[in-house]
Assembly symmetry: C2
Homo-oligomer: 356 residues x 2
């Protein structure tokens, strides 16, 4: 059996309550007593039973992080960043994979108060739409990641997706591209993040004096590489195929580039490509991938800080936090030689991106 607070108390010749006081750094413990208890703790190898502590305290010391899929680089990189933020606060992270399944997402939100497994939730919804999310109240704090869910009861962290998409498409237009396609729209209720990117895309087209062509906006059912490949195949079948593609994440872009190269198109000379998320793989791919880079560390820090603010009792109105992003310009839009020049020169355009 494990060592309990009673074993330590007996060993140190004090009451269990005093051991608890020492463990919790209660100030009014005589130095000598504290020392004796500490010695006993060390020699017996006592560690508090967190389950018991949590039962009594009503907190579990764990926060849940729910993401659609860990195998998507954006989410694994973000998860790592969130865990790094949480660790110093001596909380533990439980990661749940929802696969974007609305039932699992709803279950997570509905059970969060009642099963007492975690104190707070950082949630990147995929299958649940704004109206459904808004209808699930509860006492356990939730911070949503991703595009804003209007009027919801939850705190919320995101980047300005409209501006981010716009900056990507403006960049393509500035290179002289005239037929700029978009891959990854999700024109149904839960595709909010995709839809605002489409909005930014349209705004940038308009600003550049380009007329939108509905055939150039290809929806996808998910954000995987295979979907990007399929969408690109479709675009290449058009009578007037695009000379640039804005993909709503880097995996779609990887799939699209693969198809382009397979079909003998050069990237970026024939078709320029921009992705979204700044997955590490895009820094080493051939060509390297120009991409919109949400600042994942800031997103993680904001989400965690806000969640802990709630855990500490803040009951203000839901807040809406915006993290910065940058446009990382690499070979898939400006070509290898210019990319090298941009890296060598101190010009901020390439390596450091444009802070927004």
């Amino acid at each position: 059996m494990a060592v309990t607070i009673y074993d330590v108390a007996r060993h140190a010749g004090v009451s269990p309550r005093t051991v608890s006081n020492v463990v919790n750094d209660y100030p009014f413990v005589a130095a000598e007593t504290r020392r004796r208890v500490r010695d006993s703790i060390d020699s017996l190898g006592y560690r508090p039973n967190l389950v018991a502590r949590n039962l009594r305290r009503g907190r579990t010391g764990m926060i849940a992080l729910a993401v659609p899929e860990l195998a998507v680089p954006y989410f694994s990189e973000l998860s790592g960043a969130i865990m790094d933020e949480v660790a110093p606060r001596s909380y533990t992270v439980i990661i749940e994979q929802t696969d974007g399944d609305p039932a699992r997402e709803r279950a997570l939100l509905e059970d969060r108060d009642r099963s007492h497994v975690f104190d707070g939730l950082i949630f990147s919804p995929l299958g649940l739409g704004a109206s459904e999310l808004g209808a699930i109240p509860g006492a356990t704090p939730v911070v949503l990641l991703g595009e804003r869910v209007n009027e919801g009861p939850f705190d919320h962290v995101s980047i300005d997706n409209v501006a981010a998409a716009r900056s990507a498409v403006e960049h393509l237009a500035s290179l002289g591209c005239r037929r700029i396609a978009a891959i990854g729209d999700q024109p149904y209720e839960t595709g909010e993040t995709a839809q605002v990117r489409t909005q930014g895309y349209h705004e940038a087209l308009e600003a550049a004096g380009l007329s939108p062509d509905p055939a150039l906006v290809v929806p996808t059912s998910n954000f995987h590489r295979s979907a990007g490949a399929e969408a690109m195949e479709r675009l290449l079948e058009l009578a007037e195929p695009p000379d640039a593609v804005f993909c709503y994440n880097d995996l779609l872009a990887a799939g699209a580039i693969r198809v382009l190269l397979d079909r003998g198109r050069r990237v970026p000379e024939d078709v320029a490509v921009v992705g979204f998320d700044d997955a590490e793989e895009g820094r080493y791919s051939t060509p390297t991938l120009s991409t919109v880079a949400p600042d994942k560390h800031v997103i993680a820090a904001m989400a965690v800080a806000q969640l802990f603010r709630r855990l500490d009792g803040d009951i203000g109105d839901p807040v809406d936090l915006r993290a910065p992003f940058a446009l990382e310009i690499r070979e898939s839009t400006i070509g290898r030689l210019q990319a090298i020049a941009a890296l060598d020169g101190k010009a901020g355009a390439g390596r450091k991106g444009r802070r927004v």
Copy 2:
């Protein structure tokens, strides 16, 4: 306050104990009573407090998964597979990132019995060597992933890394490559996995009648893309640079390929490259990446099954389980045209890989 078993008992007009019996499907409960309790549970929205249950039962219903880094595709893909295996057993997974830090790895193992946060641990060690691991006993079951730690007290799941490495290098030799390099050796105590791959590499060289050249074996301090790039730079500076490279994971390969293409070498015509892990990104990269594909789903299933066997009380000797792997042959070794031919033809070599 949350709904407790007492609230349900009062509402249904039975004792708390009976509610517990209903919740736990104790067979000797009258159908009528059961119905009434169920109704009360539903109408009050009762969910058992898992913290309290776990305190009493002495189990937490959680297993921990400790990996070096989630951002490495192999680990995020494996984590996803493990979570999928665990979910149907109504356990929850806590993921810990160790960053390969020996102190954190040791803390995890040493605290596993005492803090009572998880019932079992699936652990992919990186910073701890065989001797250190072997010296940490404890009651909480542990399943190790990765190369075998000799004589340790823990169960263990891996693929046959020697054979896997050998198959990769044999493949390169069969293509006519004569100077085959290896990137990713870790010639110090905790680099066991890397070392057995080096062993397989040497065995394959010998079998092919090639004499080993120490300069062709480049150690790296980690398995990231940047390390692969640096190692490749080093190899290209040799008087006789390699005509093939076996990389110990796909990230190293991605970095190596990037450098090769940057330096004007063609892959595979000038230098053929094989990776390890079968990360999804290698199926879409340019060129697509030939790689050793450990069967992650089998690894996950074996590890989880073995862990639950221990949780169910099995106290037999530590077991050593071997999962299958396959060699996936793609463009980075046989070129695009042949890869297409292999995919089109029913020949198993390309698409399906070679089961071992």
